[in-house]
């Protein structure tokens, strides 16, 4: 009987306990489950504010995550996206959540799991490092523009790279319409425009009164704040390094200050890492509030390594700014290039072609460019100089740049200022077309005095001095290239006895007034073995010319130096000249001093020049000058490959 009682007792106790527990469980279990889901999704709610428990949080299916290591993407209709992604930190696999709203802005970030080194990589678990993300444009993630973890280079690099991959994945998957667009291209463009305009403005298309051809401007819009027009937004395009595609950008100008409000590149397809860096917003920041004058001056921060694209960019910005100043501020602003074009026309009204011949002329410190001007029947009608010289300022160096025209009769066709860095306004008078009228048409061989300008005396003096220098240059150094001078083969053979034939090659090289001709010396098999220079040196006085031929082998070893013609007074008069002791002979044509230039090398003549001879320094010095010039010319022109 006792046993039965025990069994029954235990059974009853167990049954009652079971019923009690199961009742409680039945009531609480669903509630706990709901709580658990809520808790698990809590992080998701944090990264995407506005999320509600009723939202469908099932992950998107059928997406190819590639190497992004994205674990799942939840698309919440009308609210945004939640990414779960992993990456390798220094010490652990780090998993995080990233929320992105419908407008490509990050809404939040949370590290779900990390097991990195405390104090270093583990900082990624610190909510302080998450705060930076809310409100960040997706572009920043694509550009790796986030605050890293101090001291945790490797984990930061992995983090940046992972965020970049996720943001790029998002952009390609959901940003361009293929997977359900977040915003239409039109909406995106409008948003980008509004980001560089004052808040709350409405945009209206603007029909320009001036021709926009050549400016690259594709559209102009005026921003109105309800009462006034406050800003103008330009969409423009230009061609960068990649000639097959355009680069498109928007830029806005404040109508009050005239300065830039903001800039954005909309499209670029240039060289990755170089020209295409123009799409990187780091390169746009410089334009915020930028003075329009700097754009006119093409003074912008360059894109490293992308000279061609940068130049095209700054030129395009200059054109747009210039157009803006003219259209909206009523200013007529000419760029330097335009002033040069205008000046060309003003100085040579009948000029058709302006050929840059600077390279073939003697270089000069104030001569920037020399143009040969031809009319429509291809006749040379004059020479145009572009000169850059020092301006007036005492405190810092300034420059003035101007054009001067000289016709074939050596008459001045005019002066035209094109650029300066003088104190604001001081040089304005010089730009006026009527400025130089008084001397226009005067012969440059007469004493030309340019007009004084009140308050700009020093600039005027600088200009006067430069004009004087240019005239001197034109009269003395601007020598037309004459045809190579012929010389008897005998003289060439005398200079290069081992050569059998000679061929003039002077036209292949630049002109130099002391060099009459250059011959390639060839052997019997018609192979070039060296060169012969036919050149002139000044003799004892200015009227005396000494012409000589001088051979040099391909390796720079000099051959014979042969005097072709001279009227040197030295001949036959030993002891006649000052202290000359006659040690080198009494006839210049046969003086043994000339032998010192034979059988040596150009290099040794450069490093250890032959001394001039006491008493006959004019003749030997003149010879030395020409010899030195030939050697320099030989190397500079790389005659026969010499360098």
């Amino acid at each position: 009987m006792k046993h039965v009682k025990i069994i029954i007792t235990l059974m009853i106790v167990v049954i009652v306990a079971t019923i009690g527990v199961s009742q409680v469980e039945q009531y609480f279990r669903p509630l706990i489950k709901a709580e658990a889901i809520k808790a698990a999704n809590k992080a998701k709610f944090k990264v995407l504010p506005g999320l509600e428990t009723t939202d469908d949080l099932s992950p998107e299916e059928g997406l190819d995550f590639g190497d992004t290591r994205i674990q799942e993407v939840i698309k919440v209709e009308g609210k945004g996206y939640i990414y779960t992604a992993k990456f390798q930190g220094f010490d652990s696999q780090i998993e995080y959540l990233l929320g992105i709203d419908m407008n490509n802005k990050v809404t939040g970030y949370i590290t779900l799991y990390q097991g990195d080194t405390p104090g270093y990589g583990a900082q990624i678990g610190d909510p302080e490092n998450w705060e930076q993300f809310a409100g960040k444009p997706l572009e920043d993630l694509q550009n790796g523009d986030i605050d890293g973890l101090s001291g945790a280079t490797i984990t930061t690099a992995g983090w940046v790279s992972s965020l970049k991959k996720v943001s790029e994945f998002h952009e390609t998957q959901f940003g361009d319409g293929s997977g359900g667009p977040i915003e239409t291209p039109e909406e995106k463009l409008l948003r980008q425009k509004k980001e560089i305009l004052p808040e709350g403005v409405t945009l209206t298309d603007y029909t320009p009164t001036q021709d926009i051809t050549g400016t690259g401007i594709t559209s102009i819009e005026v921003a109105n704040d309800g009462t006034n027009d406050v800003a103008v937004l330009y969409t423009a395009e230009f061609v960068g390094y990649n000639e097959d595609d355009i680069i498109e950008y928007i830029i806005s100008f404040d109508l009050d200050s005239g300065n830039v409000i903001g800039y954005k590149t909309l499209y670029a397809n240039d060289t990755a890492g170089l020209g295409n860096e123009i799409i990187n917003s780091d390169n746009w920041i410089q334009f915020e509030g930028k003075d329009y004058q700097e754009l006119l001056d093409q003074s912008i921060d360059k894109i490293a390594g992308a000279t061609v694209t940068t130049n095209a960019w700054s030129s395009s910005l200059q054109k747009v700014t210039q157009f803006h100043r003219q259209e909206f501020e009523g200013e007529v602003i000419l760029t330097k290039e335009e002033r040069i074009e205008l000046a060309k026309e003003a100085l040579f009204p009948t000029g058709v072609t302006f050929t840059d011949i600077t390279e073939s002329k003697k270089s000069d410190f104030i001569v920037t460019k020399i143009f040969e001007v031809k009319n429509d029947s291809d006749e040379v009608i004059g020479t145009l100089y572009l000169s850059t010289t020092i301006g007036a300022s005492y405190s810092e160096p300034t420059y003035i740049q101007f054009l001067m025209g000289v016709d074939t009769e050596n008459n001045l066709t005019g002066l035209m200022m094109v650029d300066d860095s003088e104190t604001e306004g001081r040089a304005d008078t010089f730009y006026e077309e009527s400025y130089d009228d008084s001397i226009e048409g005067s012969s440059i061989e007469s004493d030309l005095e340019i007009d004084a300008v009140a308050g700009s005396t020093i600039t005027k003096n600088a200009l006067q001095e430069a004009v004087g220098h240019l005239i001197f240059y034109h009269l003395n150094y601007f020598v037309e290239r004459v045809d190579p001078l012929a010389v008897d083969t005998v003289e060439l053979e005398a200079a290069y006895p081992t050569a059998t034939t000679f061929e003039s090659v002077y036209l292949d090289y630049d002109y130099n007034e002391v060099i009459g001709n250059i011959y390639a010396a060839k052997d019997a098999s018609d192979a070039v073995i060296g060169y012969v220079y036919y050149a002139k040196a000044d003799g004892n006085n200015d009227e005396i010319e000494i012409w000589f031929t001088w051979g040099v082998a391909l390796d720079g070893t000099t051959q014979q130096l042969n005097i072709v013609s001279d009227s040197e007074t030295w001949d036959g008069a030993a002891g006649q000249y000052g202290t000359y002791d006659g040690s080198f002979g009494t006839n210049f044509t046969t003086t043994t001093w000339l032998d010192l230039f034979e059988g040596v090398t150009f290099t040794s003549l450069q490093s250890d020049p032959v001394d001039t001879v006491s008493g006959v320094t004019n003749s030997t010095g003149g010879m030395r000058t020409t010899i030195d010039l030939i050697i320099t010319y030989h190397f500079e022109q790389s005659v026969g490959g010499a360098n």
Binding site: K2, K5, I6, T9, L10, V13, V14, A17, T18, G20, V21, V24, E25, F28, R29, L31, I32, E35, A39
Partner: protein, 212 residues
């Protein structure tokens, strides 16, 4: 039973002082050492123990004359286990953070010898009201003990006292905290010191009574 009838005053005096489960009886040492890292977890554990102890004492007392003595221990265990399971479920819903903080020690209340001990030593011999009162007294004594332990450990180890969730106060700046108190070894240290002090008081009293 010829035993002298026990009064409520004695029940509570025993629970708090004379028979304090933590410092005198050394019952339920496992949670005592494990969950006294902060006042909050100690309070939570204490509340859980009070709940189980009161109800187990009550139920055991109600069925004390009906359960055959041969199977009383399994029956007590089933009752306690059921109560603990219910407690766990309820706590998981209402106080998830505390539930997670207590972790497995919540389930281990089942084998807390304090509960089985009181069922065996008191509830099985007294009426339901007194048994429930004993459960409450012992539970409070246990709670007081571990909260005291938690108080010193948290104060020295973390410099703060947290009562509930974010409700807490930072007392000692970080630079002066002694992290060993917050660690497991700190529990032994504080416990030992407290037991030694309590024994000092106890023996002094005994000495005095003998002299008197």
């Amino acid at each position: 039973m010829a035993k002298k009838e026990i009064t409520f005053g004695k029940i509570f005096h025993d629970g708090f002082f004379k028979q304090n489960p933590v410092f005198v009886q050394f019952l339920g040492m496992c949670p005592t050492l494990a969950v006294t890292g902060s006042v909050e977890t100690a309070l939570g554990m204490g509340a859980g123990v009070i709940f189980v102890l009161v109800f187990s004492n009550l139920i055991v007392s109600l069925i004390r004359n009906w359960v055959p003595s041969e199977v009383r221990i399994p029956v007590y265990i089933v009752i306690i286990a059921a109560l603990v399971t219910i407690l766990e479920t309820v706590m998981q819903y209402y106080v998830l953070d505390l539930y997670l903080a207590l972790g497995t020690f919540l389930s281990l209340i089942v084998v807390n010898c304090l509960i089985l001990g009181r069922a065996e030593a008191f509830a099985s011999q007294n009426n339901p009201v007194k048994s429930a009162a004993d459960g409450l007294a012992m539970g409070l004594g246990f709670t007081g003990g571990i909260v005291l332990l938690g108080f010193f450990r948290e104060l020295f180890g973390k410099g703060s006292i947290t009562i509930w969730g974010d409700l807490g106060i930072q007392i000692i700046p970080e630079a002066f905290q002694i992290s060993i108190f917050a660690q497991a070894s700190g529990a032994f240290l504080v416990f030992g010191i407290l037991v030694a002090y309590i024994n000092k008081i106890k023996f002094r009293r005994l000495d005095q009574s003998e002299v008197a």
